[in-house]
């Protein structure tokens, strides 16, 4: 009855087999010890069952050395096995936590009860994510409402998606195919239905898909349009920093703050500058930027970030 039940999902990412190896190592250890202990209980139970009413137990002689030796053995052996698992685990954990520098960045916004995906080129999808095979993909994720969790069993990856914060995760799909995408953090009434598909394509097919018709795409404003529509450009101008800092070349730079700190201008910083402008004031400016909290959706903010990231200083022009 269970023939076609996948008792273990297929491995479709570079990290999947590494995680599975550790999993099966743990499974081996667990099976060994649970069977050992179950058998010991049965054996000892049968061997030392009371056969007649007058039978007493035989305790090991007082202060027996054997007892100390035994106790040390069964503390040290589990400890050593656990340390092997620890070191092994740390290695994979750090690989999983550090996206390669050349990863393509996608954006994910979770919302009761759907996943919204934005491609770096501006293409948007809902509950579907098309990605090229063999390329590291980094996801920068946030939520509009409650906590969700982005889970693709075939990739063995899972990361919570939090409101008010960006979390990241990366993977490299190594097999063309269509894989289930779930929300694995309980998020309200229709949590069970929050999911979709990750479609892994050959790179050229992916390019063709990107270029293809955008039917079914809801209308939305791009970052450049928002920048003008929200009047960001009245203060942030490309030619003068009189009222507000020039944003060209901002992304990835170190920014000096009024209180003397220096922070890296990453996505989280830019998001905070828009939503919570008073939190970090750029040195030399007045805190006049209005907050856009509640006026922009997380998707809009991502569009703006993407737009600002694209504002690169032309080659050779010093700022």
């Amino acid at each position: 009855m269970m023939q076609d039940a996948p008792l273990f999902p297929e491995q479709a990412s570079t990290i999947a087999s590494q995680i599975d190896n550790l999993f099966f190592f743990a499974l081996g250890i667990a099976a060994f010890f649970s069977i050992l202990i179950a058998l010991l209980i049965v054996y000892l139970g049968v061997r030392y069952r009371r056969r007649h009413a007058a039978q007493t137990g035989e305790a090991p002689p007082h202060g027996s050395k054997a007892q100390t030796v035994l106790e040390i053995t069964w503390s040290v052996i589990p400890f050593l096995i656990l340390m092997v698992m620890f070191i092994w685990g740390v290695k994979i954990y750090f690989t999983a936590a550090r996206p390669p520098a050349d990863a393509i960045q996608f954006y994910v916004v979770g919302k009761q009860w759907m996943w919204k995906i934005q491609h770096p080129e501006g293409r948007r999808e809902i509950n579907e994510m098309h990605v090229p095979v063999g390329r590291p993909i980094k996801l920068l994720m946030t939520s509009e409402d409650v906590i969700h969790s982005f889970f693709v069993p075939a990739f063995r990856i899972k990361q919570d998606v939090l409101p008010g914060r960006y979390t990241t995760m990366w993977f490299q799909a190594d097999k063309v195919g269509t894989y289930h995408l779930f929300c694995s953090q309980y998020c309200g009434a229709e949590h069970a239905k929050m999911g979709g598909w990750v479609v892994v394509m050959e790179p050229h097919e992916y390019q063709a898909w990107l270029a293809g018709e955008k039917s079914g795409q809801a209308e939305f404003m791009t970052g450049a349009e928002l920048f003008a529509a929200r009047a960001c450009n009245t203060c942030h101008r490309p030619d003068t920093s009189a009222r507000a800092p020039i944003l060209t070349g901002l992304f990835g730079r170190q920014v000096g703050l009024q209180d003397g700190r220096r922070v890296a201008a990453d996505e989280a910083y830019i998001r905070e500058s828009i939503i919570e402008p008073q939190a970090k004031i750029v040195s030399g400016y007045q805190p006049i930027m209005p907050t856009f909290k509640g006026q922009l959706t997380e998707e809009d903010v991502i569009e703006l970030i993407n737009y600002i990231k694209g504002l690169k200083a032309p080659e050779g022009v010093a700022r």
């Binding site: 139970g45 007493t56 589990p78 994979i92 936590a97 990856i157 779930f182 309980y186 309200g188």
Partner: protein, 580 residues
């Protein structure tokens, strides 16, 4: 003492009693009552997961709003699984271990006449009851009971719109605050009583492991529960007063809730297992007629588990977006906490080794505890490895783990303890044959119910979903879900044996002697059931509680209040300390 008790009016004797034994039994009855409710909720959860498209038997008895034509909608399902877990944790396992057995056993086993603060003790019960009723009654509010999972993560729990539950969620928070307060009152009492009121000669290292476990548990409760109370208070303010502790719109931090919640709830999982470990240690020794193997190692490993228990909470949050360096430290501490658990397991085996084992129902349940707890502990190691946890977090693997430790561990411990101490509590014996059958069936159907959940988890089946057939990916697993449901229903039905035996034995059980199991600890010195004040005279303690099969002693046990006959060669450290 006892004539005095006769004159006490019914209400002072059985309802607003300050006698620790009555309060213990009251907690026992309350927890068993909620266990029935929690169990029925579990059956409903399983029905929905096994047969989402079939109407639930008797489902039409529910109001149409909750179960149109006997079908559970996702909103109601979510409330049901949330309340199942909340009731089982806050109103069953914690109160039955600490409240029922803690109260009943602490004074008796240390040789005291009552708790240090009998009035506070009574208050603790009468605070817990309205807390429990508040939680359960939230089902009857307009928008239903809490539906955020027992972990109640904000913003889901902080903003009513996200779940549609208004009053129910706030009542849930209030109830957790109230039962938390009750358990702090209990903890203060146990700690004071154990420190100050031990019978003469009852050194710390002559205390039964049950008392050690209850003592350390009380310390955990005292230190951790206030954190739960504050986090629930903040959540309540967010819901009702418009504060933004956990709301990002107001600059709040959603993760702060999780840190505080698990700072309580990880120690809380030890609150839910340490007492059972204590009971099992005593029961294994008694029915093997052997001293516990490595008494001091056992006591120290309880302390070790409790101490380490405060620095592992982050293992519930590996996927929440924590810095990998922090994650690594939580991974290390979690791995280390498995070591004292391993020590305990092997010491239990060492205890039955070369014993003279009597397979009473109490003993059978205690042995089941050892074999299932180890499975739960070992599955914990999978989840402690962060990369593996990345895959299995929030899947049925976690559900399997929880149930192997809480049902396989705590609840088998409770069954063992009820079987063992029932004669002392009620002065009558339970029917052993019925309880043996109950044990065998429970053990079999427990494993058939929960073991396959590991497989579901490995297959990527998420937890807390109302309809597993919503995904193509999970459809092939549906036969396994049905299999689990059928076994779960049988497991539930089998409990009728125990309940029936429990009730009938109250009236028709064979009268119990003082010491039916020939055990050594002090509760067996008192009459069954002990009168108000417990002991005719306060016993003097001469040695530890595990003097079984001492060479040179005629019987195969030597109660703590009986000195070793001169010259009898001793074989356990506790006995030799006593003589030194």
């Amino acid at each position: 003492m006892s004539e005095h008790a006769h004159k006490t009016p019914f209400i002072r004797k059985y309802i607003f009693s300050t006698d620790h034994k009555v309060i213990g039994i009251q907690f026992l009855m309350m927890s068993l009552f909620f266990m029935i409710i929690g169990g029925l909720l579990a059956m409903m959860v399983r029905w929905q997961l096994g047969f989402p498209e079939k109407a639930m038997p008797l489902g039409t008895l529910f109001p149409d709003k909750l179960m149109p034509e006997g079908h559970m909608g996702p909103e109601f399902y979510n409330a049901v699984f949330t309340m199942h877990a909340s009731i089982m944790i806050f109103l069953v396992i914690i109160p039955i271990l600490a409240g029922a057995f803690g109260n009943f056993l602490v004074p008796l086993m240390i040789g005291a006449r009552d708790m240090a603060y009998p009035k506070l003790n009574m208050l603790s019960f009468w605070v817990a009851v309205p807390g429990g009723l508040l939680m359960a009654s939230s089902f009857f509010t307009d928008t239903g009971a809490a539906a955020t999972g027992w972990t109640a993560y904000p913003p889901l729990s902080a903003v009513a719109d996200y779940t549609g539950v208004t009053a129910g969620q706030s009542m849930w928070i209030g109830a957790v605050l109230i039962v938390g307060t009750a358990s702090i009152m209990g903890a203060v009492n146990y700690i004071t009583t154990i420190i100050n009121m031990r019978a003469p000669g009852m050194h710390l290292f002559r205390m039964p492991l049950t008392i050690w476990a209850l003592f350390i548990t009380a310390i955990l409760q005292l230190l951790a529960t206030p954190v739960l109370a504050s986090v629930m208070g903040m959540l309540l303010f967010d819901r009702t007063l418009g504060t933004h502790f956990f709301a990002p719109v107001g600059g709040g931090q959603v993760l702060m809730f999780q840190h505080m919640f698990w700072f309580y709830s990880h120690p809380a999982v030890y609150i839910m297992i340490l007492p059972a470990m204590g009971f099992v240690s005593d029961i294994l020794a008694t029915f093997s007629r052997k001293p516990i193997f490595g008494y001091k190692a056992m006591a120290f490993s309880i302390m070790g588990i409790a101490g380490l228990g405060f620095i592992v909470w982050g293992h519930h949050m590996f996927q929440s977006g924590m810095n990998p360096l922090l994650g690594t430290t939580f991974m290390a501490s979690t791995m280390v906490i498995a070591v004292p658990s391993a020590i305990k397991t092997f010491n239990w085996l060492g205890t039955i080794w070369r014993g003279s084992i009597r397979f009473t129902p109490a003993m059978l349940n205690a042995l089941a505890f050892v074999s299932t707890f180890i499975v739960g502990g070992l599955s914990g190691i999978f989840m402690a490895s962060t990369p593996v946890d990345m895959f299995i977090h929030d899947t049925y693997f976690i559900v399997a783990h929880i149930h192997y430790v809480l049902f396989g561990g705590s609840l088998f411990g409770v069954f063992a303890a009820i079987n063992y101490w029932y004669p002392k509590m009620f002065g009558r014996m339970m029917n052993e044959a019925v309880n043996t059958v109950h044990f065998i069936l429970t053990f079999i159907f427990f494993n058939l119910t929960f073991f396959p959940m590991h497989m579901l988890g490995m297959a990527g089946h998420m937890r807390r979903i109302a309809d597993p057939t919503a995904y193509d990916f999970l459809k092939p697993l549906q036969p396994l879900n049905e299999f689990i449901t059928i076994n779960a229903l049988i497991l539930g039905a089998v409990q009728v044996l125990f309940a029936g035996n429990f009730i009938i034995s109250l009236f028709a059980g064979k009268k119990a002697e003082r010491n039916p199991w020939h055990a050594n600890s002090l509760e067996w010195v008192a009459p069954s059931p002990p009168p108000h004040g417990n002991f005719e005279t306060i016993p003097t303690v001469y040695h530890g509680p595990y003097e079984f099969s001492v060479p040179g002693v005629v019987e195969d046990y030597l109660p703590q209040d009986r000195p070793a006959p001169g010259g009898a060669p001793s074989h356990t450290p506790s006995l030799s300390t006593a003589r030194a």
